[in-house]
Amino acid sequence: MKVVVVKPERCVGCLQCRFACSVAHSISGSPYAAPYEAVLSKPRIHIGLTKDKDAFPNKCRHCDPAPCEMACLPKAIFREPSSGMVLINPDRCINCGMCAMACPFGVVRYHVYSSNKTAAHKCDQCIARQKEGRVPACVEVCKVGALLFDDYNKVMDRATDEISSLVYLGIRSKEQEKGPYQSLTAYKHRLEELRRKQA
């Protein structure tokens, strides 16, 4: 499984990913036609600004376990089994806002979909493009290597994945002696072991 890896230190704040994301999720798929669609396609990647005015690309980490999925009342948020991506089914969503509460990364928004329904809205790792053998639109458009598409195993303990699990699982620092987990790696190992044992 491949995931989008964010390298915030390389981001130049050009906002191309935001634009490409909107276009990729529009009905027409064309940069010229998308701004003319009845319901504008909103971006699913967000460029935050640090207090030092550095750009910080922020998008769904497709956490495992995913806090948003656990908080979602009607199970509109689910993990797509083949790709492992955390997806939102806007038809099921009741717009309760629980997912924004649960997500440690602040990547969930609420927007009108082309079906005219307002529902939770976030990165789907361009699952439609991936099925066509293409990389996610944000990765394709990023010219500075701030967004990469890489093998999950290779990035398992890379920065972003670490941050996600660290925050959600409550590990304060990798070296911390006390607390529930020795380290993220230990936790991940435990799950791996469990999977192997039961298989």
């Binding site: 634009f19 003319y36 639109a137 458009v141």
Partner: protein, 624 residues
């Protein structure tokens, strides 16, 4: 379909592209691929870097900012950017025209050895338009006065530029009403830059109206002067045959290429390569002689007048060197890819720049002035000949045989072919033998399979009995496809075929370089005047299927402002403003009687144009 067949319809391009890959040469297509996907904000025209409170972008999807730091919305930003594009295009043509005014002036002063007046009749005709009393004056005397009068067109001494008077009365009245009559060629460009500075003009319609004025200062100013003076100094083109495609390069000759836009340098190179001594020198180096060929609009200029063959258009320029037989390439300015010097490094080709306005990496600068041009031309040709011995035999590859191409259709030549007046053409249009005429102009753009837009469109138009007038890169495309020889009449509809057969001309006529779009304007004006209607009533249209440059945007604007419906094959960066886009694609119709359409598919574009021409015929009460 091979990888290369997706990039170009031209056999010579496909074959040399493969060799370029083998030789490790990076081409415009490779670079385009690396740039893709391109910046969406810029594609829509909603990015602004006019001031350093910015750069700013408007989010077309409504989530992000809707205003630049200064408060400009998408409409203002798009309009400002477009106006600046048009200013750049107008500046390019007009500065090119200025160089010819300078040469003319120097001729008048007797200070331009090697340059003379080749068309004295035209000199007098144009001088008369400028109200110059030529009685008792020699060519030099008239040249000096005309050059000075034209200099005033560039400045701010006049209320309106002189050649605007070529337009039909009704058009001039309309322009006056809209306050878009250009006052000075440089002035309008300067004013565009002023208006689009932060905090000046912030009403998109007002900005765009001025952009129209700026474009007219090119079409009826800089470009028109460029064409007329080139004719006066180098001769008004007459029909004749030449050749196109990479096959015009000859393996056993010294091959010299001229590239750019101005005939001032290339004409002189032309003199030098014909020089006996130079030819002898080449023979002493083992070559059979010296072969001069053109690229882009410099190529068009010398093809029109001297029937010098053309090796290719915009996207072919890098590939010419991949043949391994080019001893030197001499460039002046405009549309010269900065990569050329780099490509030359892979071969033995010597690269020369000639204008102090246009210098490039990996090229040697040999500055040309009206005074030293002859001398410099001989120097370069001599060095090129000497370079023949450095040619690497293993790298030689001329992929195809050249194709015949008919050229030289200046307005005067067309009128001449018609027997002295436009009446036979008008009669043919009235009789429905020719349904109308379309200027197919513009460049190449790697966003469109090379030449596919041009060729397909022309084929469809002539099949519908629509006469095609080509300039710029379209000439090479049409020529390579065999559309510009009298035999091509077989591809035309019955009416057009009959007319072409009678006059022994192709259904697609080569009118010259991109400044020579002014020739199309002159014909349009003359037709309108002869019939007694405004241009927008005529069955005419323009098309730029593969345009890439700011100059093309300016041309499109002055064509539209003249009343000519224009179809673009590449989307201009305006879609970020719904209002500007609406204005361009329909609103302008109510103002100028013409607007734009964007249609990358040449089949659909041909349909659009044909429908338009039929509408206009109906308007004139003609059969469709």
């Amino acid at each position: 379909m091979s990888e290369y067949e997706k990039l170009s319809i031209c056999k010579d391009a496909q074959l040399t592209l493969r060799k370029a890959r083998e030789d490790g040469v990076e081409t415009v297509w490779d670079r385009f691929k690396k740039q893709e996907p391109q910046c969406g904000y810029c594609e829509l025209g909603v990015s602004c870097r006019i001031c350093v409170m910015g750069p700013c972008r408007i989010d077309p999807f409504g989530e992000g900012p809707q205003y630049g730091v200064c408060g400009a919305d998408a409409d203002i930003i798009v309009a400002r950017n477009l106006a600046r594009m048009i200013a750049a295009g107008a500046a390019s043509h007009s500065d090119h025209g200025r160089d010819l005014v300078e040469v003319l002036h120097k001729i008048g002063e007797g200070a331009a050895p090697g340059y003379t007046i080749r068309d004295a009749d035209k000199l007098k005709r144009v001088a008369a338009e400028y109200g110059i009393d030529t009685a008792g004056l020699g060519n030099e005397g008239i040249a000096k006065l005309l050059a000075e009068a034209m200099m005033e067109d560039y400045g701010m001494k006049k209320e309106q530029i002189t050649l605007i008077n070529r337009a039909p009365k009704q058009r001039i009245e309309l322009w006056k009403k809209l306050k878009v009559i250009p006052r000075g060629i440089d002035r309008e460009t300067s004013e565009t830059m002023h208006r689009t500075h932060m905090g000046v003009d912030n009403e998109y319609v007002s900005i765009l109206l001025h952009a129209v004025r700026n474009s007219l200062s090119d079409g009826y100013g800089g470009s028109m002067i460029g064409t007329e003076l080139s004719d006066i100094i180098f001769g008004t083109p007459k029909p004749g045959f030449s050749e196109v495609n990479l096959g015009v390069l000859k393996e056993d000759y010294v091959n010299i290429l001229v590239h750019g836009h101005s005939p001032v340098v290339s004409e002189m190179i032309g003199v030098a390569v014909d020089d006996k001594e130079m030819i002898e020198l080449s023979k002493s180096r083992g070559a059979k002689g010296i072969n001069l060929a053109g690229l882009c609009c410099t190529g068009n200029e010398i093809m029109m007048r001297k029937k010098i063959p053309m090796a290719g258009n915009h996207l072919m320029t890098e590939l010419t060197m991949v043949t391994g037989v080019v001893e030197s390439m001499i460039v002046d300015y405009q549309c010269i890819m900065p990569s050329l010097g780099q490509v030359a490094q892979c071969y033995h080709t010597k690269m020369y720049t000639t204008s102090d306005k246009a210098k490039f990496p990996f090229m040697e600068h040999v500055e040309f002035t009206p005074v030293n041009a002859r001398e410099q031309a001989f120097r370069i040709v001599k060095e090129s000949v000497e370079n023949f011995s450095r040619r690497n035999k293993d790298k030689v590859y001329v992929p195809t045989a050249p194709v015949r191409n008919m050229t030289g259709f200046s307005v005067e030549a067309i009128v001449g072919a018609l027997g002295g007046s436009l009446t036979p053409l008008i009669d043919a249009i009235k009789a429905g033998k020719i349904k109308g005429a379309v200027g197919v102009v513009g460049c190449n753009n790697p966003k469109i399979k090379q030449d596919s837009g041009h060729v397909e469109l022309i084929k469809r138009l002539i099949a519908n009995d629509i006469l095609v007038l080509t300039t710029g890169c379209v000439n090479v495309a049409a020529g390579k496809a065999g559309l510009q020889v009298p035999e091509a009449k077989e591809m035309a509809g019955p009416g057009l075929k009959e007319v072409c057969g009678l006059l022994n001309i192709p259904p697609s006529l080569h009118l010259g370089s991109c400044v020579d779009n002014s020739r199309i304007i002159v014909i349009a004006c003359a037709l309108a005047n002869a019939i007694g209607v405004d241009i927008d009533k005529l069955p005419l249209a323009g098309a730029a299927p593969e345009w890439y440059s700011e100059k093309a945007a300016t041309i499109a604007f002055y064509a539209m402002a003249s009343g000519i419906f224009t179809v673009l094959g590449v989307m201009p960066p305006i879609m970020g403003s719904k209002k500007v886009a609406e204005l361009a694609t329909s609103g302008l119709n109510d103002v100028f009687g013409a607007c734009f359409a964007v249609e990358p598919d040449p089949v659909k574009a041909a349909q659009l144009i044909t429908n338009h021409i039929m509408e206009k015929r109906k308007g004139l009460g003609l059969d469709v």
